[in-house]
Symmetry: C2
Subunit: 359 residues, 2 copies
Amino acid sequence: MIKKIFFTPGPTELYPVVHEAIAQALKDNVCSINHRSSEFIEIYKSTDNSLRKLMDIPDENHILFLSSATECMDRMVQSCVINNSHHFVNGAFAERFFKTAIELGKNSTATVVEHGEGFDFSSIPDMSNSEMICFTQNETSTGVATELSRIYEIKDKYPEAIVITDIVTSAPFISPDYNKVDAAFFSVQKGFGMPAGLGVLVVNRRCIDRAEELKQKGYSIGSYHNLISLAEYAQKYQNTETPNVLAIYLLGKVCEFLNDYGKEKMREETIAKANMLYSMIDSSSTLRPLVKDKNIRSQTIVIAQTGERQAKIKQKLLNSGYVVGSGYGKYKDSEIRIANFPMHRIEDVRSISEILSSI
Amino acid sequence: MIKKIFFTPGPTELYPVVHEAIAQALKDNVCSINHRSSEFIEIYKSTDNSLRKLMDIPDENHILFLSSATECMDRMVQSCVINNSHHFVNGAFAERFFKTAIELGKNSTATVVEHGEGFDFSSIPDMSNSEMICFTQNETSTGVATELSRIYEIKDKYPEAIVITDIVTSAPFISPDYNKVDAAFFSVQKGFGMPAGLGVLVVNRRCIDRAEELKQKGYSIGSYHNLISLAEYAQKYQNTETPNVLAIYLLGKVCEFLNDYGKEKMREETIAKANMLYSMIDSSSTLRPLVKDKNIRSQTIVIAQTGERQAKIKQKLLNSGYVVGSGYGKYKDSEIRIANFPMHRIEDVRSISEILSSI
């Protein structure tokens, strides 16, 4: 049987270093050590350091480990919002963030655009009353990337609000300037090529202060995973509960690998691979790019409209071992989503492009 | 270097089958498959079936996958409690459940006993107004086990309340009668000998109905991990978010192994090993059992008071490769906690007993 290589938006292909790191972890009893022990603290500290280096996260920001990106949304609303948040919704994951706030009883609002479209930043609503402004920088369901500069402009305009962005499928290719946003989060089964089960939330002091403010005013900010408890334990390189220790260990190993490899090199390669894929789609007679505006095309999630031939196209790729994603939700059978993460090799991207060109 | 064997209360020694199952998972791309795919659904269904068989969970109960036992406490309070819950607190983990309710803004109450003591069920407070009554059947910080019959009696007396029990360190040795409690939860890094990162919550229809009732009354019951959403997805053998897929897979493999091995045999062996440890402690001139009342001694967490010699005792065990736990919290340096889980072999328990007897 031909070996499968996953170009799915996540879960996706494991980074080769992950296989080695799992073997090492088992040998070193990483899954058996106590989560308050000095051995664990060393692992946590090492991961924290490597991730800061890879993603240029300043020392003053807190890196918090949760269980998924969805949980990051949930806990941020719980800890930082009394009445309302505003959401820039351009797909299913931005919608999930908005829905989270509504389900938590907030009077949240949203700016919504069509499938595959970006936002018109020349005409955005007044957000003076929004306590938190939420972006999905790289929307996995549509392959639309919002330029970071646009997010920074919103923060400039509304300095009182907490500005947060989902970078689930853009990290570590993209890392925002943490002086220009208050928080960002991602999960590890995408660009980090790891097994699912860990969410990473990066917050600044402002987010913690906001949680303190809510608490002092008598609001519940949640229990064991409220921002204050999470940050307090993170400063001791620990978690409030027994965390996914193996995932924290593996994240460190992937970051170390990428730091050694060179993050600039990884980013240049990502762009080169994305260019290859988009060029192929743009010149294809069968495929159409979902995102027409080249300025907002995601470099890490490349989506092509396939029309009725989707199943045949996916099968043709699979015959060579390549597993790509289907479209999201109602576009399930009419689009393919090709992930372009750091572990995806340029040779394979070239092969995929050639197969798709030949259709 | 001598091979370490972890007799810690959790994280603990991995079940040997876990090593093989991780290798198989990597080979079969378990960490890369889509969490909405038929392959994933098959894995989920298989784990659900094997766990039901092992723990005698009726078909009508929902098995929900969360990220930790602490999250199970959090979500149960969020989804099922408007004003108050009552907690039977005999240690740090029962205290955690109580604290969770308080942090979520509830007017909860507690019946508290001293370290190492059980409850006097002949004199319990009136709980007519408690919406949820919470037990920690096997308190990991004290090694006190509450008899299941006592918990069932409380349910009989307060049929309107949701009766829930933490079975974190007793599962799968113990599994309650799910017709006599409404909910139970555990994590997998204890008796299942797995890496940490998965919490399992078993609930009946009553819990879901209660969440529906709160929702209809206009209360927020939480977002993506509220009981209604969790149960809805669980019925499709999926999760609301991308879960810890590897852990769900591994749990299935451990359950399959134990079902083949024989759960009765596993339970008999657990009792035999516990008897060996308690006999040794009872007859020791150096050690004292923390739990004096033999009727409430945990079979899976055996605690001995060591006095000042604790570090030396732990070192002596470590010289033979055995890692045991320290006491919890302020008893850190004056107690040892020895886990007695299904993966712990009787030969090793005998060796530990002999080493401790010789001191």
